[in-house]
Amino acid sequence: MASALKRMAAALNRHRWLLMRRTLQILIVLAFIVDIPELGRIAHGNLSSSLWFWNVPLTDPFVLLQSLLAGAPLAKTALIGAAIVAGFYAFFGGRIYCSWVCPINMLTDAALWLRQKLNIKGNLTLSRELRSVLLVMALVLSVITGTLAWEIINPITLLQRELMWTSSAGLTFLAALFLFDFLVSRRGWCGHLCPVGAFYKYLGHYGRLRVTALKSDACAGCSDCIKVCPEPHVLAPVVAQKALAVTDSDCTRCGACLDKCSSGALSMKLDFGGKSAFRGIPIVKS
């Protein structure tokens, strides 16, 4: 009995980052749709702009940027909300949004899980820079057409609207997205195409929350972390021991590497330069 409990605790511990992430993602989705007795709803609106705890305005800076480029005048509430959101991600790291907040991440992770379960090998290789191309397109199109170009297809708010009114008009698009990640391209949407991810990547370029390898001599060089990483190139320098922290802003801080690493070499830390800034000569191991 005790050993079973122990095993369960160990299993939970092995997935602690994934569990924390899923919990937060699900809580955020529920905050918009569930009425708590006596209190009502915690969050109103959707992820493009919302009101939290009846007072705190939050606005997606990418949506607001499209709106301003399309010709909208400045408005106080939206700017305050966008400043809060942008400040948070600029300080901690932009793509935290992708793995901790965005509900589409759950959909694409499910697609990847199924893809691995069924051992589907066929893969359409896309450039990871396509998302930056789509980001530029979304901004240019907003200027040209005077509407919020990405919001015409943005699956994030689409999913939220579908949930709010339990309508199904957008479900075909979400299903197509799932099938694309499942059958066509491995991590195709979040890892290659989504311009929201690209926007947050640039926004959080100097983000300070980083996967660090301060105990790098504990690393056995198994590269298991790279195998589970949604953006494997960000970990390469760390595994090659050319860097002590992941500094590439593609990193989503999902913690998959921390869950996977059995040697305890990796940790998630607020990093202000200092030790982990070391780069250059690889550490020679005996």
Binding site: H44, T77, V140, E151, I152, T157
Partner: protein, 234 residues
């Protein structure tokens, strides 16, 4: 492993290309630029060919003119949530309005014209103009008696429901007597300067299809022209 690249470099030297790395970088940049330009052209065509907003799609009070509204509204739905009568909805792909923008359909559920205008207060971007503080100055559209053939008042009856339900009583719609071969008719007549386009008259029209309808102002009203014939000068 090194053979192909060595071969490539020798080809580069053979054809006098001095910096293959730079050439590669240019190629990469231009490929992305090509994708971006092509994609923008196609997407722009797709965006411009979207269906226009249907006439029955009415915006909440204080909404900016349709073009400005389309760029200023960030599709968050805070107005929808603050409407105490739940008349508003964000457009989905099957609704004839830009995706995610709020609207109501008068025949289904008209605007109740709350005096504190909570939807306008909820808007974070000013797409619903915060300068609108008097709901009687709202402009969601204008009521037009579109069908004279079927309107009961035109048939000589005194239904007059539209006049009686109008929240701007006696001002926005009133009965104007007209004498014709059927006798004295009481004709519901809209004063466009007072009508806010709330849609209460359309909602309550007793016929199975309303004969009085709220239309966006540019569809519902004529504008007197620049020349004597009443038309705009070409």
């Amino acid at each position: 492993m090194t053979k192909p690249s060595a071969q490539k470099e020798s080809l580069a030297v053979k054809y006098g290309i001095e910096q293959p790395a730079r050439r590669k970088a240019f190629k990469r940049v231009f490929r992305h630029l090509g994708v971006a330009v092509l994609g923008t052209a196609v997407a722009q065509a797709a965006i411009f060919s979207r269906p226009a907003r249907a006439a029955k799609i009415l915006r909440p009070p204080g909404a900016l003119p349709e073009k400005a509204f389309d760029s200023t509204c960030i599709r968050c739905g805070l107005c929808v949530k603050d409407c105490p009568y739940d008349i508003l909805k964000l457009a989905s792909w099957t609704d004839p309005a830009p995706l995610g923008t709020p609207f109501f359909v008068a025949r289904q559920d008209p605007c109740r014209m709350c005096t504190d205008i909570p939807c306008v207060k909820a808007c974070p971007t000013g797409a619903l103009d915060p300068l609108l503080t008097d709901i009687r100055k709202a402009d969601m559209g204008v009521a037009v008696l579109v069908d004279h053939e079927n309107c009961l008042n035109y048939k000589g009856l005194t239904c007059s429901v539209c006049v009686r339900v109008c929240p701007i009583r006696g001002e926005a719609i009133s009965l104007k007597p007209i004498q014709n071969e059927r006798g004295l008719l009481q004709i519901p007549t809209v004063n466009p300067d007072k009508c806010t386009g709330c849609g209460t008259c359309e909602k309550h029209c007793v016929l199975s299809e309303a004969t009085i309808r709220v239309l966006p102002r540019e569809l519902g009203l004529g504008v007197s022209g620049a020349n004597a014939a009443g038309r705009g000068v070409w």
